[in-house]
Amino acid sequence: MHSLSIIINILQEPYSTYPIYIKIALIGIIVSLAIVLLTYLEIIFRRLESTSKSLRINEAKNLVTEELTNNLMLEDESDKKSVNSVATKLKKLTRGDIIFNQIIIDELIFFHRNFSDNTGRLLSRLYNRLNLKELSLKKLKNRSWNVQAQGLREIQEMPALTLKNKELIQPLLFSENNDLRIEAQAAYLRMNREHPFDFLNYADEDLLDWHQIILLEVIYNTEDLKVPVFSKWLDSPNITVITFCIKLIVNYHQLDAIPKLISLLDHPKIKIREDAVAALGKLYAEQSETRLVEIFAEQVLSVKLLIIEALGLIASGKNIDFLRSQFLVDDDFSIIKTAGCALSNHPDFDKNTAFGDINQLSLERKTIINHCTDHLIRN
């Protein structure tokens, strides 16, 4: 302390006679220079640190890749013994280092995503042998949602869950965070193959369109998924659950759901009516035709168009007069065009006889019907 005050005194000596504002300015300059210097040092230190970290990561990645490819995946006869020996080597390399362990998890998942059969099984076994499952499950309890989502992705890629672990996912299924919720639902679908859709019973939050796309992708690409009767969710108070289940009913061709779909034609929400009508058409539900025609007049344009399309798909021939009258009488171009295409979908339809003399039709209607019946044009 004493020596510091001596140094300050020596430094002050030449300026002792200077006015006070000069002294203050000098102190300001010195402090600024010190701050600039410290900032540069901090930048250099951080750069060195990140360079050394990325070098370490690269080195670790190379070691892990080499170990996995050369000593595990490359051998035709790799088995439990090879897994154990690779696990021992990797454990020695990692020594509990979090970054190293994450590299191993990432590489195992990457290879598992690309290689099936024996290689895939060996990779899953190694994941379990290295207790990496515990690390992934630990992430589910993290406060940060992106770490939780990362953990969910890891456990669904590497099938290693028990019923006890599934309970860890339950609270995340209803998270308010969209990204986390969708990851949890995808994980639940993949890991709960006996009752994969149970979460729909309690789904209060909307299943957004992109969210539904991701779930459908998981559903279509997961083997041995036990498919339930989706019509049981058509009464759900959550509209997006209903639209999601309608898609699945069509995809899995669940014809038993047709009566419930018909009852949805009276649903107050337009979106539900649209989806129900489209589904009935795709399921060729002949028993729905009468109801579709009955409700036609009171619907908005979008539903009307879908009803005409559905009648065209079902094409039983019972409503050809209805379609003809829409084609001939309605003023709306989209209705005329859709009705024309629906008519031409009927196997017995002949444009030359359906309207008496085709030349009696207006130029617009004649053009439309020629367009709809042109086999080279896909309508």
């Binding site: 890749t65 490819t69 050369n70 290879f111 290689f115 290689t119």
Partner: protein, 129 residues
């Protein structure tokens, strides 16, 4: 002389592993990490088999197949597509523009090796004729 295979894959880990695995099977493997690099390779060298991903940087797998079939020394070389893009349309499109086989990711190594042998066998037979 070893059978020459061109392996076109943008994922470094898969590229490295498959190269090692195919070399173990006694094939000579050249690699390309994107479509452009692959086009350069096929213009200079005659290959017995080309294995390619569809999603490639710069030049897509589809463009690469077309180039191979129309503007290279490898117009008759069998092409095996190895891709995660595996919708029916993608497979049909790839096969209709000139690919000989399609293997979906994730795939089993043994299946890949068998397909390679079949394609090379057929190719050798064709050359013999």
């Amino acid at each position: 002389m070893k059978t020459k295979i061109l392996l076109v894959e943008n994922e470094e880990l898969i590229l490295r592993f498959l190269k090692l695995r195919l070399e173990k099977e006694n094939y000579e493997v050249n690699i390309a990490r994107d479509g452009k690099e692959a086009i350069q390779q096929i213009s200079n060298t005659q290959y017995s088999l080309i294995i390619s991903e569809l999603t490639l940087p710069f030049v897509s797998g589809f463009e690469l197949i077309s180039k191979i079939r129309t503007e290279s020394n490898n117009t008759d070389t069998p092409i095996l597509i190895l891709s995660a893009l595996s919708s029916e349309n993608t497979i049909v499109d790839a096969l209709s523009i000139g690919a000989n086989e399609f293997l979906k990711k994730p795939f089993a190594i043994n299946v890949l090796l068998t397909k390679i042998k079949l394609l090379l066998g057929g190719h050798d037979l064709l050359q013999a004729v």
